[in-house]
Symmetry: C2
């Protein structure tokens, strides 16, 4: 069984929108044992859509298409479906009553004919009523290939996927288990890791695949396999992981299954009933945002001060202005004072702080662009490290966030 | 002239990585007049890569491929290229000396044979030396189709694109101008906008395309056209925009050319020499992060307090605990006090504040999940609005951020 994902919409082809829908769908398909062999983005153009659909019949067992189902003139997917499946439109009463309900209860704008027309669906389709919008999901088959059409608005697509599409695929097809285990490492390049684990990698059986995923100071090692028996597969993967870990114990920081490094930090702090607060300068709120994105953050995250200006480091955070004068605002003494002060202000157990020059121009410090200090204040000590993260603003801030989480997790794992 | 983008790598097909490379490339191609007709992600698998390359010969004039050029065993793009172009590997001395330099100066880890082997390139290729990594870019042709291969690490890919690929495409091909103008609206659904501007839309000439891009409380209207004379095209688009604006003046907030709403806010504040600070609860740092992502934010953004816990709203921000007791921490009085206090603490002209229940469980307030208050404190007054943003945590925070920027921009535009 293979699947492919097609997104329809010029906004992706002109670079206006990032295709996060396909990422979500691919991940969900993988979880239920459905391998995605191709993801494509094509134009809101009848010929392109038809070409792609005909091409997919021979390529995939399941074809999931998102986008182009809106009520405006630029959305042409539904009419194209009619031609492809040689079908006609009929009114779906459930969809129509849901649209009337949504408009009355939430939208509170006039119900127009184009909104009512969203309840017209191909007569051959199995229909999934959209509880969060007007365009329903549709399931059709042609020459033994299953075609699923979903609206492109992410939260509508996600709801229909989870409530209808995934359960129906599991029910109708006999799917294998796909297993991925991802190991997070920090501090060594991919080629050096590869050299170090050559013997281990050469001994991997054919049905275990190893991938190296390098990204800004960290390398993920992903082991993947596929089969019918989850427990058996899991046992095999774990036995190879057990022999790998001693080879990389200096750079290993944890597993990413569905766990990101923020989740590992969150779990650790919640388990130890400890709290954290953050003083962010060059990272500008990204660390806090990443922490808060995990439900339950209030259990360990007390809050942050984004002290972007030098003045606010003094006025709001209470950093000693003399240190700033003598050492520069981008310095180890300042970042350590920031970590200490933010810990005290929020009455937390741990304080984390960043200060640096992200560029493109130098701010209130003469330190070279890309220079970043990260400070950690624990219940027992306060320390910091200096980094040179290059001259791209975006990269400097992302690297600062990654490295901050790495340092913090390493500190927490000491206990 | 048409172009397509291919990304190679299982990490996209299993949903582990979002394909932001294609978004960047598509945007840059559009700027130089090169229309992208298809974006595909395929597996690190020789058969799939070859199938795709052969298919692309008949489909596109320029094929840009990223990924699969790393030094580890899972990267097989280079060997596949050799087969496709019937070529052999030779050492490129410039690439080799750049690798030696990078390893000595920045990487500071042993230079391994696999790193040296990155200087082996197809003999028929034009080579672009990678200044930020070991895998060079490569430009080859087959049957009049140009194939460009770039590393998948985003900052390496971006550097080779900007320094070599885009200038070479401009030099070698005679490209038209592609023009997009995007109008930002807030507060009305896409179908209601479409009904209101029906006559205007029906009068658009055939070579002007209109697209509706709805997203969490806002709708973007994008007008696109293509031709040879930039000034002529720009004049035509602007004349249609001029007749559109009076029809949507109540929902129009600005243009997004390369300008996001944060940039419109930044430009407005910088021009008026006014400053802003933010108190974020349920938005958890996202507003600050979006503000700081724009270079020059220090000119108007003084900083923020992320007061995620009720305790920190009192201890750090100084919100009156009596208001919290009598009104609940999610209330108009609290958010207004937050906006006022953060304005005073940072000595800013404007204060912006958010408080709400993002879910999935209720926090320190009994207010329904999805309830959000946004407060604004100006030099003259402090006010707030209440919203119901549904029950998805991610959507609630994103809508809070969007709505906050909308309210702030509307406030700034009053002057």
């Amino acid at each position: 069984m293979t699947a492919e994902i097609i997104t329809i919409g010029d906004e992706i082809l002109i670079g206006q929108t990032v295709d996060t829908n396909s990422t979500f769908i691919a991940k969900e398909f993988n979880k239920i044992g459905l391998a995605v062999n191709r993801i494509s983005s094509i134009s809101d153009n009848k010929t392109d859509i038809l070409d792609k659909l005909y091409n997919s019949i021979n390529y995939s067992d399941i074809v999931l298409v998102t986008g182009g189902l809106g009520p405006t003139n630029d959305d042409i997917t539904k009419n194209t479906i009619l031609e492809f499946f040689d079908d006609i439109l009929i009114t779906d009463k459930n969809v129509l009553s849901k649209i009337k309900y949504l408009w009355k209860k939430f939208i509170k704008q006039p119900l127009l004919q184009v909104n009512i027309d969203q309840s017209l669906v191909p007569s051959k389709a199995t229909i999934f009523v959209n509880k969060k919008g007007s365009a329903p999901g549709m399931w059709l088959t042609k020459n033994n290939t299953t075609f699923i059409f979903l609206p492109g608005v992410p939260f509508e697509m996600k709801h229909i996927m989870k409530d209808y599409v995934l359960p129906k695929i599991i029910k109708e097809f006999n799917l294998p288990t796909i297993l991925h285990k991802t190991i997070l490492t920090y501090g060594l390049g991919e080629s050096s890791i590869a050299e170090r684990i050559t013997d281990w990698e050469n001994n991997l059986p054919n049905n275990l695949n190893l991938a190296y995923l390098p990204s800004l100071g960290r390398v993920k090692l992903r082991i993947s396999t596929k089969g019918n028996d989850f427990d058996l597969l899991n046992g095999i993967v774990n036995s190879y992981v057990d022999t790998l870990l001693p080879l990389i114990n200096d750079i290993f920081v944890g597993f990413e299954e569905d766990n990101s490094i923020q989740e590992l930090i969150a779990n650790n702090l919640i388990k130890s009933k400890l709290t954290l607060s953050v003083a962010e300068s060059c990272s500008g709120g990204k660390i806090s945002d990443d922490l808060v994105s995990i439900p339950g953050a209030s259990k360990y995250f007390n809050g942050s001060i984004i002290c972007y200006s030098t003045k606010s480091k003094i006025d709001v955070l209470g950093v000693n202005p003399e240190i700033i004068l003598t050492e520069s605002v981008v310095s180890s003494k300042v970042v350590e004072d920031m970590a200490l002060k933010v810990k005290k202000i929020f009455k937390s157990d741990y304080g984390l702080a960043t200060t640096g020059n992200a560029g493109p121009s130098k701010g209130d410090s003469e330190k070279e662009i890309g220079t970043v200090y990260i400070g950690i204040s624990t219940p027992h000590e306060t320390y910091s490290y200096k980094y040179s993260f290059g001259n791209s603003r975006e990269r400097v801030t992302r690297k600062t966030v990654n490295k901050s989480f790495e340092l913090l997790l390493k500190e927490l794992l000491k206990n």
